[in-house]
Symmetry: C2
Subunit: 419 residues, 2 copies
């Protein structure tokens, strides 16, 4: 007995999800700046002070009035009276008057009265006097207060991913904590009578779970925190309890298996009972991924992915990952892509948007070549392991021809692809 | 008073480091597979069983002897006696004899006697009999035991970075734990009388620390665990104690500041006291990065980087990051690169390998263009924030010309560059 299903096009499915669930950051938390690497900034960082906070010397040498060095050269040094020393990290205790010079270190504040620094290499010190063998212009070797960043200037913007440079810049203006977006929690569970958790012994007729593991890792890679719930049999009560628990513990729920057309596919039925509006997408016109079911239950999205590991991961990348990224506050949610040439003619499935897993190679001209990875039921794991990315054939296009340029959506960073 | 320094070329510096310190994984630890995302596998994973472990049906339908369906079509169905049902997750209790068929679910084991499965859509069931409206070939709709992975086959290799797909494949063969390489601990400290930890109030003449923060984040980005030790004044005893503590707590030590030629530059002197062979590189012929000092102290490398934030981070990327990656077990240690066209003529520093920070843009032909970011002392933070990467000019080359193709070493993933 086949249930009636209205298959959504891929675009309609995305629109239906967007209509019922606005993916946006979940909230803000303050974390130590030292722990903020790879988080997304949730506030604008405005410099509360000039950087540098005071005019400072950029060399070791002598702080002088530039006018006093006028005409000095290697043969006719100007003689200045040493009036004191300015060390880094302290305010100058001396004032540079006409005809005097203060010894100064790199990074030390320019003392009152001085407007330039002559580098030590162009001076000589004898008996409390400084011989200056070159003229300096006003402001030479001086980094003025605010030259790097003016007080009130923008150092980092809400929505930026924090890396080494951003964190350094935020430290520079004195912050040791920052507000970042909360990390979305994503509950992951697998279903199926035959599915056994890895690490347990395998009874006859059973297989080990793949999806809860691969999808938990995919959640990490998307910037979310996986909440692993394990494997549940196809029993409506157990599934209902597992989904209720998942909705309590997490912001998004991802299940796999239990969504094809067999008599034991209880996920879609159960989802309708658990909240409003319930199931919003029940099958999409893609290959693979046709049985994909999506529900929104009182503000939380639930993605019921197919049981086939490559299909589950592909639909995760296409539908779930952009939502997790957006909830994590990230501004770029698309998968990285790369142009390559098709190694062979690749056919689409009639009337369905078709995704084909490919491996990247280089041809003799060093161009990227996308080669289809044999998929299908007999290669669940091997496909998963060999694919570097996937290409897409629109539903009304019959095939991509050999040598045709294709866009490869990368499953891993190019750095980790051996081409 | 200028200390004598023998400047190493960049290559000589790398060779000297390689000679005294072999960067290799620190050891192995076992972690739950669910927590292994982004770790590096330290063992070969060999399948201890066939995947699938038994021949299974790939559809819902009836397990039959293929020979019994010979000649069946829509007009002339073959009639078979229903002999039982095989559910997923359990071993079949029935045997399929000639002239019989067993109901079977997707994923359920093929019962004894059957050698094919006819899909439910091509059958009809009436009064304990199954009408078969199509012929099936031997093995049709059957996934044979071991078809995906044979027992003894390689699932994942030592040295692989673990992502969603690898973790899924390892789960498939039943592992819930894996051996991964230990994460190298990298102690990070800043020096300087004027340097103040962010979050504290800033006394006159002081500046906030940037480097210990940016370098700690760069350690995370390289696959290491930063051990932040804070800021120390230019006092030989304090520096010595800090370095001793760093060497106790970490596998690698990174300092910044205290390595130019001022009288207070105590790091090189102190390093020589702390272990063998002591300082091995004291100044390199690069711009920036000239004062970079490297020591190896009883088997642990210490990198004393310049105080200028962009220089410190650049030398970290060039010298330290590949070593951390190698210690973390990673096989690819190079920075990702990209070809671009120079926007303008960029000059090298005479006799020194020169690195120029660049920002990426696109020209009207959508080609990448590398534009130098104004650097120097007045733009420590702004340079850091604006640069997408850097280019390199060999020491014997005067300049890179406008429109010339250059290799840009990326400071961030291309995904996060707004071009």
């Amino acid at each position: 007995m086949k249930m009636f299903r209205r298959l959504f096009t891929f675009e309609d499915a995305k629109r239906a999800i967007e209509k019922h669930f606005k993916a946006k950051p979940l909230g803000v938390e303050e974390v130590p700046l030292l722990e903020a690497c790879n988080r997304v900034l949730a506030e604008n960082i405005i410099a509360p002070l000039d950087i540098p906070p005071f005019s400072r010397s950029t060399v070791d040498g002598y702080a002088v009035k530039a006018g006093d060095t006028f005409g000095a050269d290697e043969n006719r040094p100007v003689k200045l009276m040493l009036c004191g020393t300015v060390n880094v990290g302290e305010m100058p205790k001396v004032k540079v008057e006409r005809g005097t010079a203060a010894e100064i270190m790199t990074g030390a504040p320019i003392p009152e009265g001085a407007d330039a620094v002559i580098i030590a290499e162009k001076t000589e010190r004898k008996n409390g006097e400084v011989y200056v063998y070159a003229a300096v212009a006003k402001d030479e070797n001086v980094m003025k207060a605010g030259a790097d960043i003016k007080r009130g200037g923008m150092v980092a913007k809400r929505g930026q991913l924090l890396g080494a440079r951003e964190i350094g810049a935020i430290a520079a203006v004195g912050f040791s904590k920052v507000k970042v977006y909360k990390i979305p929690r994503v509950a992951v569970l697998s279903t199926g009578e035959e599915v056994t958790e890895p690490g347990k012994s395998l009874a006859p007729g059973k297989v080990y779970d793949i999806n809860a593991y691969s999808l938990s890792a995919a959640v990490v890679e998307s910037g979310g925190k996986p909440v692993y719930l394990g494997v549940f049999p196809d029993d409506p009560n157990e599934i209902e309890n597992a989904l209720k628990r998942a909705l309590t513990l997490a912001d998004v729920v991802v299940t796999s298996g239990g969504v094809s057309v067999g008599p034991k596919d209880v996920i879609p039925q159960t989802l309708s009972l658990l909240g409003k509006p319930g199931v919003i997408v029940c099958g999409i016109a893609t290959k693979p991924g046709k049985p994909t079911t999506v529900a929104v239950l009182d503000g939380k999205p639930v993605f019921a992915l197919p049981g086939h590991p490559t299909s589950a991961l592909l639909i995760f990348y296409l539908l779930v990952r952009p939502i997790i990224k957006r909830m994590a506050g990230k501004q770029t949610v698309e998968t990285a892509t790369l142009k390559a040439f098709s190694s062979t003619r690749m056919f689409s499935a009639r009337g369905r948007r078709t995704f084909i897993m490919v491996k990247l190679k280089r041809d003799e001209r060093q161009r990227f070549v996308a080669e289809p990875v044999p998929t299908g039921l007999s290669g669940a794991i091997t496909t998963l392991l060999r694919a570097d990315g996937f290409i897409e054939i629109p539903k009304n296009q019959q095939f991509v021809d050999a040598e045709e340029e294709v866009t490869v959506h990368l499953l891993r960073s190019l750095r980790n692809i051996n081409v």
